[in-house]
Point group: D2
Chain length 362, copies 4
């Protein structure tokens, strides 16, 4: 991961600002011969798309992806496939509402990266947050759609497991439920609780944090490259790079600190198709290498920093100001993070798969 | 981070197995003209060295570092300085006790990476865990000593803040206390609690997890490179790459999920030397860029997997076995992780500093 | 350099096929605050643009570049500047003539990469050569325009110094002449010779090779990073990556093999502004580091492989065929390589400048 | 290639100065299970070793390599194999003759990188040239020995084809002859000519340049990764990074500039085992991808800059001095470059093989 590129053999470079003409990514190193159309990518963008409910930003963006390179529809066959050359994807910004930015042009919004960007670069595109905007995550989701194709049989699924102080009981997680409610909630009984919490938050112009859980099922043992290319280290870096992420844990995560060695070490027995683990505290990764168990992680997201409450801050001149951040914002960014988290896991796994195959031939 | 190298402009490559002749690292890209002797590095290795108390492994390793390249003692001046060429550091293994490894040669120890390495590579150095051994972290600490020199005025300090279920109250953290007890504990009142807990654990042949907190003070605003080179993403990857790490959080971390936007967004007022933040939920990083506040992180470590209790497992032939892991092991690896965590933070910050200077000239 | 990306701190990723909807690049790591408009880039694309004379391909492409991200026109100032975020550039393909590709769809054109792509990927976009097409070099030229801005005072100039067997006498090189003829020829007396040679070649449906010389004036001493990031090694890699390049030399190059040590080693005397070298056999680079002298290189280009003469080859089924490559082709690709060579030198130098500044602070 | 590391999946990091305690390299990403002993590496170091004839430096270095990590001798099998973890190799400097360096400590030797290092770093290890010394190439040769193992069936062979003005006629090249004379000369009739030339050069305290040719036989079609990871671009960068290299060409190289399209494009016919090329002007690489033909390259080396003739130069104070470079030097560095060139080709090919396998599974 460096600047705006991540991955080693499968390399994703993203670009674009919230209020520029477009955003997109270049996915390089994709294996050739994989069927890929715009519809294959669009379906995942739909999962992430704003404007789909009252708890996400009302910005209306079709997020229609265009494939500009790297695929070929051979006249002699009936499908479009990847060619092994870089796949350039572009999503045009449509609803970058024309408005007056003079208020925030010189103000540092608390909790946002305005001050940090300004301190680093001396200049910043303040329209809609510029490069810091969560619109950048659309490019991640698009890249993830390609990564999912590469890892084929591996299923990646995410869910919101906590909103504000209301956490789902891990024993009640039912993955089949996540698409039945607007919160990616795996526990139907939690849905009304979150609904009420979010309604309160929304009405008060406040915001709330969330935790997203993700699992990858079907990855074989052997992916990941110790020591600094450990699969869990790469997942941690990739997930923490998502806007508003503040914590990442693998398997038992922080709870592992309170465990005894007996409770933590996953025992093994012989199964019909290789080892069967009797628990998965490790989250499917040991020594940085996948074990064949489900790869599990959780990501904590802070509450949206754009809130209507008046907050103390500074402007570029260093003067003290009081600021309320108007605009079309998500009261809980974690809600829209699910497909982004899934996409980052897909990209990390696809890259690990290719590198493992490169080194070992398997 | 790729395979056994991490960093971009300051690049650290480590090598070595637990029971090979030596281990070490190559630190490339160090600025020239920085005073550097073996003693400068040795002091940090002493902090991490095994054999220093009954709660850490009894393996006796002097961990004496040798600088093999990259420094020069000009006859005309009185000090040895870096030259800008790669600095090769080597630590010889001395106490890789000659013993019979036949029992674990073919066994997969539960909670260890034995099975994962075997599945990936088809071959593994089973003596003392080979490359998975925590001895590798000595190379990180050595590299970190150089990184500390590069970032000069930035102070990095770590502490153990939880052992097993016993967590230090954050309000009671006193950083001046960490060197006054064998646990890097910042709260003197917690010391006897941990002592008793560890004694129980040790006697029963079990192990326990821990959480390490770390802070970097004095880093200016502007370090870090969005989007995928975000400072917090790089910290997360670097810290999760440490042996036994299972979780990383920045600033408020997982607790941020339960916060409201008002409580989470750090407000600013004008100070004498630039902005003053009224809180630090962000942990000193916003949008992936340092803000000038203390950079704060926490890392969760699982309990050591080597325990005396009989555990169910498999051998390489796929047969079910019952296994107890004898040997000289730490009941709590988190205890020795403090200097390693500090070193990784130092390396990430030094690399970020050089890259920031490269891009912006500041 | 990896896959479709090159550079370390200034990273250029290019994408696009000859007959796809567009091609482009993402330039990441650019310093902030540099004035940059589309016109700044367009001027260099004009130098490279096809359709400008009878000795270059008649494909009519406006090559109009669009900046999609990474710049900002602050309302409060009067110019558009870089923001430090990735700059995405796109050039739409306009004249990808609709035609029947059935003849070459299954044929391997001799001298082209058709067979190699097919052997590697199993699939290839055969329209206009797909990714192998020299249209990709437009993206390099666009990136080079940004690199030139970064290195400011450094002047980069290229010339064709040989076409077919007709080489310019080095003593007759007059850099001011290169824009006065359609061949970038620095010796007016050679122009009619080349004109006649090219006319003969063109009429016979053949093609011819060329050598391009390039110089960078004004680069300070100190750029480049031994051992494997040597400035001359990076130049060699970057220049050899240009379509049809078969050789690269720095300074005296291959002629150095026949020199004596006395004739080769550049002597130094004291000048008003530092060292003055009495010769420049080194081509401005010693030990991989710039010396402050002009950086000089030469690149050999093979003749275009698309010729009208019937040639023996194979098709994808492995059957022997006889093939003549029709289409709109340059009889001498070297003619259009000048701005591409200049662009690659600019990119390498800008990256070296940023890395040098990162490591040394100078 | 960056700083002191090259390669992508097979990564080589070298370190060490001429007069430090040792030099070496870390080879990361090697496939597991490859038989590897110190003797396997030592044989190639012997080819490069100084002190073996009157035309190479008289420094006496045993160049005994030690493997410090990354291999394992399983008690249950009879051979030592790679484990997939980083292989650390070390060669101790033995004959770094203790002498008085006061003369060159402050002098810039013409043709050497003394001035460039000083300008870049402000400090330099002047003993024996420090990091600029050709002793660094021993680490390359050691790494190349591992790379040769990875690419197995591919044979790499080098020869000196020109010394000073005396070039071997390409039609007279007989690869079986190179080990029958001290010059790696493939034409026995040229041996006495070079002998006389070198004797004259040696006696006069001068030096002479050379050209080395190299071939890789048996590499399959498909290695290399366009656009910026082209196989020929990577070869060019790797070969130009060798000390004293000033030019690199692939296949017909600079001669291609004078060819017609008909003479240059290699025709194909059907063979028993796939395509048969009727010529190899391309040098086995088209579009940056191997074609299955022999991969051929040539590298030009300048004459050694250390000569006994008095030369004009400067010292660090900027004062004009006259300097003659005494010491134990090769009159023709090209003579010792053959195993280094071979090693770099081996490393580039092994890396390309692993990356190709990673992306395509073949």
């Amino acid at each position: 991961m460096s600047h705006n590129t991540f991955g080693h053999l499968l390399r994703v470079t993203t670009w674009g600002e919230s209020h520029g003409p477009a955003l997109g990514c270049v996915v390089d190193g994709c294996p050739p011969g994989i069927p890929l159309t715009e519809a294959d990518i669009q379906q995942w963008l739909e999962k992430r798309r704003p404007g789909q409910g009252k708890y996400v930003t009302q910005r209306q963006e079709p997020d229609a992806v265009k494939i500009l390179s790297g695929v070929f529809q051979d006249e002699r066959t009936d499908g479009q496939v990847t060619t092994g050359t870089p796949i350039s994807l572009m999503i045009e910004n449509v609803d970058q509402r024309s408005r007056d930015y003079s208020e925030i042009a010189t103000a540092f919004r608390p909790g946002h990266a305005d001050y940090a960007y300004s301190a680093k670069y001396g200049v910043r595109d303040y329209r809609g947050g510029g490069r810091q905007s969560a619109r950048e995550t659309a490019a991640r989701v698009a890249a993830g759609a390609i990564a999912r194709k590469i890892i084929g049989g591996v299923q990646i699924r995410g869910a919101v497991v906590q909103i504000g102080p209301h956490a789902v009981d891990p024993r009640r997680i039912d993955w089949t439920q996540t698409e039945n409610n607007p919160f990616w909630c795996p526990d139907p009984e939690m849905v009304p609780v979150w609904e009420e919490h979010l309604e309160t938050i929304r009405k008060s112009g406040s915001s709330t944090g969330a935790i997203v859980a993700v699992e990858a099922l079907g990855a074989p043992a052997g992916w990941g490259a110790p020591i600094y290319g450990k699969l869990d280290a790469e997942l941690a870096g990739a997930l923490m790079s998502i806007n508003a992420a503040k914590g990442v844990e693998i398997g038992a995560g922080f709870a592992a600190a309170a465990l005894s060695g007996e409770d933590n070490a996953d025992e093994m027995r012989a199964g019909n198709d290789g080892p069967v683990f009797l628990s998965n505290q490790a989250g499917g990764v040991m020594g940085g290498i996948s074990t064949g168990q489900p790869i599990t992680a959780r990501v904590a997201f802070k509450p949206t920093s754009s809130i209507l409450t008046l907050r103390r801050s500074l402007n570029e001149a260093g003067e003290e100001i009081d600021l309320r951040t108007k605009g079309r914002h998500d009261p809980c960014v974690g809600l829209r993070a699910v497909p982004v988290v899934e996409a980052m896991v897909a990209c990390v796994l696809a890259d690990a798969m290719l590198r493992h195959r490169g080194q070992t031939g398997r």
